[in-house]
């Protein structure tokens, strides 16, 4: 470390009394462009046209993220109303406000909506709005993917609630346990609504997760190394990866259950070799991380709010990062603690119990860091901070009961009782809802330009805080007294009456707090004064911009030297000559296309300038097509589903259709030479490559879920293949394997040829690859068609065809990618400088080789191991 760096350090140790940041601190502001440039930038980055069509094409991150948040909040209100109905029903014993079937629908819709349609989208929406300004860049890497995510989520949510119109409301709980949710015990379409409408919303969550990962890792301001990244970004990085790893098994599980319901497969039918416990595994492999998918970003939000209102730097920043990452990993290995009462071997219970209890270590580290920051700070008791304190108090109580239910004998005692209901609401409302409200108070100026009213805010907080504890604390007691969850009523004289009465009163107090928030939102927006740039004297980059920020975010990207740039840096434009040259250059050029900066992952050095996608209608076409596929399948309308698939394919092609280049190539090259940084008008190579890698990771996770299901069924069976079916032979797939290996060599060669500029060879190689890939597909189809059993025969047949079918799907997608790339190769748009689609096609097919070997090895090899 140099003796005197020209800027302050990252908050290195200093006496505590010197660490207090004065509330009226003067903070740096983002460098403003000259008026002419500002107008040009604003025009370039504003959404395209007024009116409905323009609005549908809007891709700006503020618009997309804001819409996601408002929609998610609307679902929160609806789910809250359902909860109030439930509490009214339970206010006294033997109440007849609603019947058992309605009550089943109420708790299913309440839980499912809160988990799938409120918490995760709300957090992702917040990330999409905030990340570009928080990280000091201009946009998200895939604005169109954000639009696709929003409309898919919105339409999926509407589809889910349309079940009320047909009186086919899902009623098997938010976990939809088989066999209750299977074709025998839930014969109508209610569970199809649950599986398919929520399935499509899960796709939306994954789509947003992909762009969040790339934004955080590759689109930060120069100098914002990982060690200087705001903790909300760290938390979203962990969360977005968790979404990929958690939502995918759920989608696969939902697919298998839907296949059981619709085409007669036997995955979860114990009479035909299936296992209902398999559903529990697939569900909880998603379900437990889901809790942390909500908690980790909420913790990240609080890590932003607490230092600002405690007026000091967060204590233990590296420890909080470590604990977020550790929590992310550990959260995937706790799922069996939801299944302690299933009847599992002792060591299995032991290791999952150990992990469930040990996760309190990283979670506790976060809490201690926040408490210590408050303790050594000089708190300002604004509403946002009150919610942060409410979070600490409530989440700690929920965490303590969490450790209790992590202990196997205690869990057996309280399993499926109201104690668990109390625990999960302490964790989810305390650990997620309070932080979300706190951050709405904190960041509202950046959304609307107005501060929310503090007096109403405090009423809002106290009503919610008191109402929450009045509602849920008594449920610990009624649970310990034996009251089971998910019952629509209870007899008098069990000693539960008073606790249920108090709970219902508390629920209405809590709801009145939410109502005050809504009133405050409209009131403050109507009569509030425009707020300044940084009303809280906060430390992170978004507060260096006007409230709300301009559409282009930063004109001159900031250069970062500290974790708390606005507290530590007098200006945001100091830095080495080369970096200054890049950011100053980007401020002035280009003004004819949306340009943003790619930086390196660890140290955030400028890597390339790229063109962010322009507004487009195609993502909505894809969303509509996808929701049509899922929606029509609810009613088994296969021709409509096929039409939906066609719409999706057309949408994807339109989406990826190359756009005309707005700037002449000479101008681009001149810029590159002058500013010494690559320029990618055709789109970023880094972003495209990262997206393909994440897509392949996603396919790998899905494949792992299928493989897990296969081995689970194999281990659970007495005979394998079940029903003494003949062992499969692999002659045809052996030929297909040779074709695939040859294809790997060919597509790799195509990349080398384009780098050498040999266009004709590239075209021929891609065409030859296409022939080989088609041969692989045809051979696999032929082999599957020869099998003397099908998916209806037994669970072995079901998983055999499911795994084989998934491999077919991956091959089909690869063929589509090759076809698209080849089309443009024959049109001659690739060059030694611009060949990312060829590179990505090659990567896809190379990764298909290990995936294929795994699938074929399992399908054709593992039956020889027997049961």
């Amino acid at each position: 470390m140099s003796a005197n760096p020209p800027w302050p350090s990252d908050g290195a140790a200093a006496p505590i009394e010197q660490e207090i940041i004065p509330p009226n601190v003067q903070t740096a502001h983002a460098e403003r462009p000259d008026p002419e440039t500002a107008v040009a930038l604003e025009k370039r980055w504003a959404d395209p046209e007024p009116g409905i069509i323009g609005s549908l094409k809007a891709i700006q991150n503020d618009a997309v993220g804001g819409r996601i948040m408002i929609t998610a909040f609307s679902f929160f209100l609806v789910a809250g109303l359902l909860a109030l109905l439930m509490r009214l029903q339970l206010i006294k014993p033997e109440n007849t406000l609603v019947g058992p079937n309605t009550f089943n629908g109420l708790f299913t819709m309440h839980g499912s909506t809160m988990m799938y349609l409120f918490a995760v989208p709300m957090i992702e929406g917040l990330a999409i709005v905030l990340l570009p300004v928080l990280l000091g860049n201009r946009e998200m890497p895939f604005p169109r993917l954000g639009v696709f995510s929003y409309f898919t989520f919105l339409l999926g949510g509407i589809l889910f609630f349309s079940s009320y119109l047909l009186r086919s409301v899902p009623d098997a709980g938010w976990f939809a346990y088989a066999p209750l949710s299977g074709p025998e015990f839930s014969p109508g379409i209610a569970l199809d609504y649950w599986l398919l409408a929520l399935g499509v919303a899960e796709v939306a969550a994954i789509a947003a997760g992909i762009e969040i990962i790339i934004a955080i890792l590759r689109m930060r301001a120069p100098g914002m190394s990982l060690g200087r990244m705001p903790l909300f970004a760290w938390s979203m990085l962990v969360t977005a990866f968790s979404i990929l790893f958690a939502f995918t098994p759920l989608i696969i599980g939902s697919l298998l259950l839907e296949l059981d319901r619709k085409i007669g497969s036997q995955f979860f039918n114990p009479n035909m070799g299936g296992s209902p416990v398999l559903w529990q595994h697939l569900f909880w492999i998603f379900g437990h991380p889901e809790v942390y998918i909500q908690f980790i970003p909420a913790s990240g939000m609080m890590a932003m709010v607490i230092p600002v209102f405690a007026r000091r730097r967060l204590i233990g920043y590296p420890l909080v990062v470590v604990s977020m990452v550790a929590t992310g990993f550990m959260s995937f290995l706790l799922w069996v603690h939801h299944m302690f009462s299933v009847g599992l071997p002792q060591v299995t219970l032991g290791i999952f119990s150990a992990a469930s209890i040990f996760i309190a270590i990283p979670t506790g580290v976060q809490i201690f860091a926040y408490v210590a920051t408050v303790l050594f700070g000089r708190p300002q008791w604004k509403t946002a901070f009150l919610f942060a304190v409410g979070f600490l108090v409530t989440f700690v109580l929920g965490g303590i009961t969490g450790v209790m239910v992590g202990v196997v004998p205690f869990d057996w005692q309280v399993h499926d009782s109201y104690f668990v209901v109390a625990h999960l609401h302490y964790v989810l409302i305390g650990g997620v809802v309070f932080p979300i409200f706190g951050t709405l108070y904190y960041w509202m100026p950046k959304f609307t330009g107005k501060l929310l009213n503090e007096r109403l805010g405090k009423i809002n907080f106290w009503l919610m805080f008191v109402g929450f504890h009045v509602a849920f604390f008594p449920q610990h007691i009624s649970g310990l007294m034996g009251m089971p969850r998910r019952v629509y009523t209870y007899p008098p004289g069990m000693g539960w009456d008073i606790f249920n009465f108090i709970s219902t009163i508390g629920a209405f107090i809590l709801a009145s707090g939410v109502l005050v928030f809504i009133v405050n939102f409209f009131y403050s927006n109507r009569v509030g004064d425009p707020t300044g740039r940084n009303p809280w004297g906060a430390d992170t980059l978004e507060w260096s911009l006007p409230s709300p920020p301009p559409n282009y975010g930063f004109s001159v990207l900031p250069i970062i030297h500290s974790r708390h740039p606005l507290w530590d840096q007098a200006t945001l434009s100091e830095g080495s000559a080369s970096v200054r040259k890049v950011v100053q250059g980007l401020a002035a050029w280009p003004l004819r296309w949306r340009a943003a900066l790619i930086t390196s992952d660890v140290e955030a050095r400028p890597v390339e300038i790229f063109r962010v996608s322009e507004p487009s209608f195609w993502p909505i076409v894809c969303s509509v097509g996808l929701v049509t596929v899922f929606g029509s399948e609810i009613f088994s309308l296969r021709p409509v589903a096929l039409l939906g698939i066609l719409v999706v394919v057309i949408g994807v092609v339109g989406w990826n259709w190359p756009e005309p280049v707005p700037t002449p190539m000479e101008e681009e090259l001149a810029y590159e030479e002058h500013f010494d940084i690559p320029v990618r008008q055709h789109g970023s190579r880094v972003v495209a490559r990262s997206a393909m890698a994440l897509w392949l990771l996603l396919l790998g996770i899905a494949l792992t879920s299928f493989m897990f299901s296969y081995f689970f069924l194999q281990v659970e069976s007495d005979v394998w293949p079940q029903g003494n079916l003949p062992l499969p032979t692999a002659e045809w797939v052996a030929v297909a394997t040779v074709c695939l290996l040859l294809n790997g060599f060919i597509v790799r060669r195509a990349v080398r040829e384009i780098q050498d500029g040999r266009q004709l060879r590239v075209r021929l190689l891609l065409a030859l690859g296409f022939v080989l890939e088609t041969a692989v597909l045809v051979l696999l189809v032929y082999d599957l068609a020869q099998m003397p059993f099908d998916w209806r025969t037994n669970a072995y047949g079901s998983i055999f065809f499911a795994l084989g079918g998934f491999m077919l799907l991956m091959l089909l997608i690869g063929l589509g990618i090759n076809l698209f790339t080849q089309f443009w190769a024959w049109r001659g748009i690739y060059s030694p400088e611009r060949f990312t689609p060829i590179d990505n096609t090659s990567l896809y097919w190379l990764v298909m080789i290990p995936y294929w070997l795994l699938v074929i090895g399992i399908l054709y090899g593992s039956p020889y191991l027997g049961a």
Binding site: D10, V347, F358, S562
Partner: protein, 120 residues
């Protein structure tokens, strides 16, 4: 501004996510081992402790290696931050070391469960 070589960056990432990733694999392996041992004739219940012990030792070695990489990244970071300051260049090394320590502890915790409980 910091600047790392691709090799240094690889070491940083491996040191950072290596130990939790290895521990995850170890945990799943012990889980599958135990489930299989209780159901399959191929593998008896008595095999759980010795196999889990071997897996635990391998995992500890791998976690230790990740910790070593993190330590190297930490040391290299000292030199990389000549004009940067504040421990910025050492961040991934430091956090990698902390993660390795935590997951070494977690490895032992899982192994203890296999040690003190009957498998099936």
């Amino acid at each position: 501004m910091l600047s790392f070589t691709p090799a240094a960056r690889r070491r940083q990432w491996l040191g950072f996510v290596g130990s939790p990733a290895v521990w995850t694999l170890y945990f799943v392996a012990v889980y599958v081992l135990n489930e299989a041992a209780c159901k399959l004739t191929l593998l008896g219940a008595t095999a759980v402790l010795p196999v889990a012990t071997v897996l635990a030792l391998l995992t500890l070695a791998a976690v230790g290696y990740a910790g070593w990489l993190a330590y190297q990244a930490w040391r290299e970071g000292d030199g990389a931050e000549a004009e940067d300051g504040g421990g910025n260049g050492r961040f991934l090394g430091l956090t990698g070391l902390l993660l390795s320590s935590l997951f070494a502890l977690m490895t032992v915790a899982v192994w203890v469960a296999a040690w003190v409980l009957r498998p099936c």
